[in-house]
């Protein structure tokens, strides 16, 4: 289609990437409902190239076709290109956390799952918690991360499974089985998978209206204590998660 001779493959790839990004930017700039022809004209790209890039971006779900099949808009997956902006928890929610901290001798942490990514929004000031970026980058080594992974079992863990300690679950099949258990029981547990002596327990905070996963409430403590059944502790944790749900959803 283009008048130039076809460039060699390595020279062509950067241009294709640039074009794809330009198409994405054009959909954002022109607003939803922009058509393939309009994008092609605005970017001065050959039509066939534009159609191919659009179909690729739709296949990867960064873009969606609107029901008239002509217009394009940003897909939900494009949200993963931006860092989710998570507001700090409300005073009422912080009061629930303070109440729980008063009743247990464990660290109490709260993570938000806005944008399908775990973000620590309230760390216990008196107890150490893991580095915040670990939750986003290696969700499979923390109880809060496992809760999120169990909710979206089909989403592949990006970047593979890295071993932090000898207890880290680095086998995908074992992790999948563990996540199924988490989805079943609603309780995630991590014993020494990130630091050998520490572990945590987490339960989900769900929206009262549609049951979607909003946040996770976690207790952190010594690994051997986490491994115990902790029935009463888990009940207490679930009760507080229930009180948090109308405040966070």
């Amino acid at each position: 289609m283009s008048p130039q001779p076809p460039p060699s493959v390595p020279g062509r790839q950067p241009r294709a990437v640039r074009n794809a990004l330009a198409v994405l930017a054009e959909v954002v700039a022109a607003g939803p409902g922009v058509t393939a022809k309009e994008i092609s004209a605005a970017l001065r790209l050959p039509r066939a190239t534009t159609y191919r890039l659009l179909n690729l971006l739709v296949a990867e779900e960064y873009l969606v076709r609107l029901p008239d099949l002509r217009g394009f808009a940003l897909g939900a997956r494009a949200g993963r290109l931006a860092v989710p902006i998570v507001p700090p928890p409300s005073t009422a929610a912080r009061a629930v956390l303070a109440h729980l901290r008063g009743r247990v001798r464990w660290g109490v942490h709260l993570a938000s799952y806005a944008g399908c990514q775990g973000t620590l929004v309230a760390r216990d000031p008196d107890h150490p918690s893991s580095e915040p970026h670990l939750l986003a980058r290696h969700p499979y080594v923390s109880a809060l991360g496992k809760l999120l992974l169990a909710e979206t079992p089909d989403r592949p863990v990006e970047g593979g499974l890295r071993r932090f300690t000898e207890h880290t679950v680095s086998d995908p099949a074992r992790l999948a089985a563990q996540l199924r258990e988490v989805a079943c029981s609603g309780l995630a547990r991590q014993c020494g998978e990130l630091h050998a002596e520490r572990g945590c327990l987490a339960v989900a905070v769900r929206s009262p209206s549609d049951g979607s996963l909003v946040a996770g409430l976690a207790l952190s403590g010594p690994a051997h204590r986490v491994a115990e059944p902790n029935t009463e502790l888990v009940d207490l944790l679930r009760a507080h998660a229930g009180r948090l749900s109308p405040l966070l959803a």
Partner: protein
């Protein structure tokens, strides 16, 4: 118009296909669905001999041309499936290109194709299983009562696994089809090796075979590909439908082509010395196995074909149920068919209606005294007729669809202008050579029904005609951004589609306007 009103004008809060197990099947499962629909194992055993009857030593060339044609059809289907995720397969796709009337014709073709292929695969599976049991020296296996009972049992199994969840049926299909292809590769691999290394050059540069003979062989060779579009019905359920479905259909055409080429080459080479060659053989693979003193290969072949038929029956039932489901949602068929099971998320009513019919027809045919092997022939030829009509229409629809959405390309026009005349010729040749009885009977029964239904809907329920081509549109959950104010709509799947349409007189936005 600002951001949200521009979108809110056309995006619904919920997909019209809601109720199915949305976006939950991996690429391999979708691929297996398509491969099973084409049932390459059965084709490998039977098709080369039929092709050889006209093409002789040039059989592989006929198969090669047929593969090219199948890839072109896959390309035409891909132009739709890259852009819309439908459950109604070629019926919903045709609607977006050519509108309601041709869509109904394609839908009728698919209904006939899926139903009869389903019946044929149940019959074929029962026949192969009785042959397998018979091979172990159990005598009553050959009786028609056993064959009929097996058909009923198999239909029950198919019903159980298709209702229980699309993930289960897809896993079964993947496993069984993989087993089937492995068995067939063993059969043909062993035959090829035992025939000795060395290329049979007479096949590559055939002398004494005219171009006309090669072309005549293309028609039966295309039979090997029938059903390869089955993945197009998984639009709602595939995880990344716009990527996996076009790939699955294209790869199935390629895989079926390669397997058929292997089968054709092996068989033609094996009978090179025999008088009349491959064309004169009734059961070529069995004869080859016997000639090479490898009788166990026949058992492996039976098992390979039996598993292929089994997977095919699950795959076609899955596709048929989703076609009926789509038509139920649109109101073209009774709205009950458009219900989805709340827990299993499958079109259970459509399956419950379809499977008894699929099982009853073979039982009646066997009851009338037809042997399963003879019952297969009219079922398969009539099914092929239905599929060919649907393929023809979807290929014709592809460039029209692209033009409607403003994305017409030269390639799509070129592909259609090659494939449509070829398919027309194939269709005419098919009708003129097919045995009159069953195909004519089915056409005579189906066409007036479809025509009457269409005219009635156009006169009395124009909103249903406008609804034809419902697919899994983008809904608010798929969009980036804050949730839009919900439009008041009863959730589909519970209320009837009928009521839904009355409550919402505006036809769904589509390229028709």
């Amino acid at each position: 118009m600002n951001y949200s009103t521009r979108i809110a004008n056309q995006v619904r809060g919920q997909s019209p296909m809601a109720g199915l197990d949305r976006r939950n099947l991996g690429p391999m499962q979708v691929f297996a669905q398509s491969v099973s629909g084409a049932a390459p194992a059965a084709a490998m055993a039977v098709v080369p001999a039929i092709v050889a009857a006209s093409a002789g030593a040039a059989t592989i060339w006929s198969v090669l041309i047929a593969t090219g044609l199948a890839l072109l059809v896959a390309g035409c289907i891909g132009r739709f499936t890259r852009r819309m995720a439908a459950a109604g397969s070629l019926y919903s796709l045709t609607a977006k290109g050519l509108g309601a009337g041709p869509a109904l014709l394609a839908g009728a073709g698919l209904l006939v194709g899926y139903s009869l292929l389903g019946m044929a695969s149940l019959t074929g599976a029962a026949m192969q299983i009785t042959a397998l049991i018979g091979g172990f020296g159990v005598t009553p296996a050959a009786s028609p009562v056993v064959a009929a009972a097996l058909v009923v049992v198999l239909a029950g199994l198919v019903a159980a696994c298709t209702v229980r969840g699309v993930r289960l049926s897809a896993a079964v299909v993947l496993l069984v089809e993989a087993l089937s292809i492995t068995l067939m590769l063993v059969v043909f691999g062993v035959l090829l090796v035992s025939q000795g290394i060395g290329v049979d050059s007479r096949q590559l540069v055939p002398s004494g075979t005219g171009l006309g003979a090669v072309v005549a062989g293309v028609l039966p060779a295309l039979g090997a590909f029938i059903g390869f579009e089955a993945a197009a019905a998984m639009g709602v359920e595939a995880r990344r439908p716009f990527r996996t479905i076009p790939r699955a259909v294209g790869a199935t055409a390629a895989l079926t082509g390669v397997l058929s080429l292997l089968a054709a080459y092996t068989q033609v080479a094996g009978f090179a010395g025999a008088p009349g060659g491959l064309a004169g053989q009734q059961q070529p693979v069995r004869a080859l196995a016997a000639a090479e003193h490898l009788p166990w290969l026949s058992t492996v072949l039976d098992a390979g074909v039996a598993t292929s038929f089994l997977a095919c029956s699950v795959a076609t039932t899955t596709a048929l149920a989703r076609l009926l489901f789509s038509m139920g949602r649109e109101g073209v068929l009774p709205a009950r068919l458009g219900r989805a099971h709340r827990r299993f998320r499958t079109p259970h009513v459509a399956i419950a209606v379809a499977l008894p019919v699929l099982a009853a027809a073979p039982v009646v045919l066997i009851g009338l005294g037809l042997s399963p092997a003879r019952a297969l022939v009219p079922l398969l030829t009539t099914a092929a007729l239905g599929y060919l009509v649907a393929y023809l229409l979807v290929c014709l629809a592809a460039p029209v669809f692209l033009h409607r959405i403003g994305e017409l390309t030269v390639v799509s026009v070129a592909a259609t202008s090659v494939i449509v005349p070829v398919l027309l010729v194939v269709l005419v040749a098919f009708v003129s050579t097919a045995p009159v009885s069953v195909a004519a009977l089915v056409t005579g029964a189906v066409l007036p029904l479809v025509g009457a239904r269409y005219l009635w809907m156009r006169a009395r329920r124009p909103e249903r005609v406008a609804a034809i081509g419902l697919y899994d549109e983008t809904s608010t959950a798929d969009l980036l951004g804050p949730p839009l104010p919900p439009r008041s709509e009863p959730p589909p799947g519970r209320g009837s589609a009928h009521r839904r349409e009355r409550a919402r007189p505006r036809p769904p936005p589509g390229p028709q306007r």
